[in-house]
């Protein structure tokens, strides 16, 4: 998916800075201030988004360490069992959260590039059985991915028959099933 938050925020900020902000009445201080705050928050968001997942994982690791240490230090008390259950759950989540979103995205980009190069190389040759097979594989894989891409972008209202596209929640595999 190319239409991601990073490019959206970049273009929103340029529009706000180049067009919207200069058009706001300089005498309307509330509007001026809030427009600048909107831009500030968007800028903050663009810096945080690439690191948000690592930030959360880092926090959870240290919280799990704290939870274990606290449960040990407190001994038996009313809340110890809850802390132990939540710490165990956090350890399990951390075990499953070994690759971050930026790594997933980098791997996606790499595989898109190499599969595209392969298709370009093989399909550019004289017709043969391999081309037919490769075309079938790409068309089938593209059908599934493009259905999700279209569903993801339904709020933009491009689709002439939006009811024919399933909701993105129904199309995405649950996180636990991802392998």
């Amino acid at each position: 998916m190319q239409l991601r938050a990073d490019i959206q925020i970049t273009s929103i900020l340029k529009a706000l800075n180049d067009v919207v902000l200069p058009a706001i009445d300089p005498g309307n201080q509330l509007a001026q201030e809030q427009a600048r705050l909107c831009m500030g928050l968007l800028d903050l968001m663009s810096r945080q988004l690439p690191l948000q997942f690592r930030f959360d994982v880092d926090e959870l690791k240290r919280l799990a360490n704290l939870g274990e240490a606290l449960a040990e230090a407190a001994g038996v008390s009313g809340s110890t069992e809850t802390v132990q259950v939540d710490t165990a759950y956090a350890r399990d989540v951390l075990n499953r959260a070994q690759a971050g979103p930026s790594e997933v995205l980098a791997a996606t980009h790499a595989l898109r590039a190499s599969t595209s190069a392969l298709v370009q190389e093989v399909c550019g040759k004289a017709p043969c059985q391999a081309i037919t097979r490769i075309e079938r594989l790409v068309l089938d894989a593209s059908r599934e991915q493009l259905l999700r891409d279209r569903s993801w972008l339904l709020p933009q209202r491009w689709e002439p028959a939006p009811d024919a596209i399933p909701a993105i929640e129904a199309l995405l595999a649950p996180a636990q099933d991802e392998a």
Binding site: Q2, A117, Q120, I131, S142, L146
Partner: protein, 397 residues
């Protein structure tokens, strides 16, 4: 892992490699090469209206040479690719006399979602002016000698792209027109297309265009043009696009008699006057070329430009059922529509639309190259529907 090419700072070697790998018309090559050479330069910064007024003044002084005055300059919105300024020129108009003429300056940003030649647009508007309604075109600054970027000046045309009561998306896409209006506009729409295709391009001054040899050259130039743009701009590659390019090369149709092609002939690109519902001007000739008329026929029938009528039938450009459109065009033009060529151009057009919305849209917004990056970013969202249409078309072939 892969050796990455920095497409935001393209090397001279990579540019030459692309030029050699994807040969196309000379003027297309010139403008694509120019944008790559400029890519690592500054993005687009807001321009003062006065800057454009001064640029227009310099252009008219150089071309017209008689006293004149520029009045009432103002920004115009509309379209996703060019900056536009309306103004009134108080001047001595040749063969008319003293006149106050409403005009429009149409100028490129630093990079456009559709990188095209102002000179080609200028020449094409002149070539078709007695064939279909178009705005009068006056002057061209094709190298940005007077204005910050290449530009042309044409006359302001009266009319609207959709009735005030209609609903639609940005750039005129998804417009729904009332049945009575459709009945009046559709025959003109088809007739104008037939007239453009019947025009003898050899008698027109079209020096910025190369004429393809009869055969597959028109098709090949078009694949090369758009595959080159995909290569130059895409961030995330797509196996589907590579498959499509290979399919297009394996199945190129022949054209015996190349004709002038508008290349963006659709709702949203013509104006009509509301009291009499007459088409008053055809706009946006920037993608025009000498090629295969099937390109236009296929373009107008894209799902992205159409809508559905009260009975659920798909309407070409929201105007006319698809089968009726084909029949009326054949009757008006005397040309026979070849279904295989038509299908190929549907695939080709879908490929080019995905390329410009998804890859160029991303690249120019990423580098802050336009006056409306937020709009081209918004338009990226339509590309997945278009790519699925591309996939469907190849499946059907």
């Amino acid at each position: 892992m892969h050796a990455q090419i920095d497409k935001n700072k393209p090397s001279a070697q990579w540019i030459e490699h692309l030029r050699e790998r994807y040969p196309t018309e000379k003027e297309i090559d010139r403008i694509l090469t120019r944008r790559l050479h400029r890519r690592s330069g500054p993005g687009y910064s807001p321009l003062a209206l006065q800057t454009l007024v001064e640029g227009v003044r310099g252009l008219i002084q150089a071309r017209h040479g008689e006293p004149f005055e520029i009045l009432e300059p103002r920004w115009l919105s509309g379209g996703a690719s060019k900056l536009q300024m309306a103004f009134v020129l108080d001047w001595h108009r040749p063969e008319v006399g003293r006149e106050r003429t409403r005009m429009v300056l149409r100028m490129e940003p630093a990079e456009s979602i559709v990188e095209t030649s102002r000179l080609r647009e200028f020449q094409l508007l002149l070539a078709v002016r007695h064939t279909v309604p178009v705005p009068p075109v006056f002057w061209c600054d094709d190298h940005g000698e007077f204005l910050p970027y290449p530009a042309l000046v044409y006359g302001f045309a009266d009319g609207v792209t959709k009735p005030s009561a209609a609903t639609g998306n940005v750039t005129g896409l998804g417009t729904r027109l009332p049945e009575a209006l459709r009945a009046q506009l559709a025959p003109q729409f088809v007739d104008h297309l037939a007239r453009i295709h019947a025009l003898d391009h050899e008698k027109a001054e079209l020096s910025a265009f190369d004429v393809p040899r009869p055969g597959t050259q028109a098709a090949e130039w078009m694949v090369n043009w758009w595959e080159r743009v995909w290569e130059e701009d895409c961030q995330e590659d797509a196996p589907m696009m590579r498959l499509a390019a290979a399919w297009l090369r394996r199945n190129m149709p022949s054209v015996d008699k190349p004709a002038i092609v508008h290349a963006d002939f659709r709702v949203g690109n013509f104006l009509f006057t509301e009291p009499d519902n007459r088409i008053s001007a055809w706009l946006d000739w920037e993608l025009g070329r000498i090629g295969d008329p099937h390109q236009d026929i296929a373009w107008t029938t894209s799902r992205a430009f159409g809508s559905y009528d009260e009975r659920g039938r798909f309407l070409v450009c929201g105007l006319i059922p698809e089968e009726d459109f084909y029949q009326h065009y054949e009757r008006a033009s005397g040309r026979r529509i070849d279904q295989r060529a038509l299908h190929w151009y549907k695939v080709m057009n879908a490929y080019s639309m995905v390329t410009l919305t998804l890859s160029t849209g991303y690249r120019i917004a990423c580098n802050g190259k336009t006056h409306q990056d937020v709009l081209v970013t918004w338009l990226m969202g339509i590309s997945y529907m278009l790519m699925d249409e591309l996939r469907n078309l190849i499946e059907q072939a």
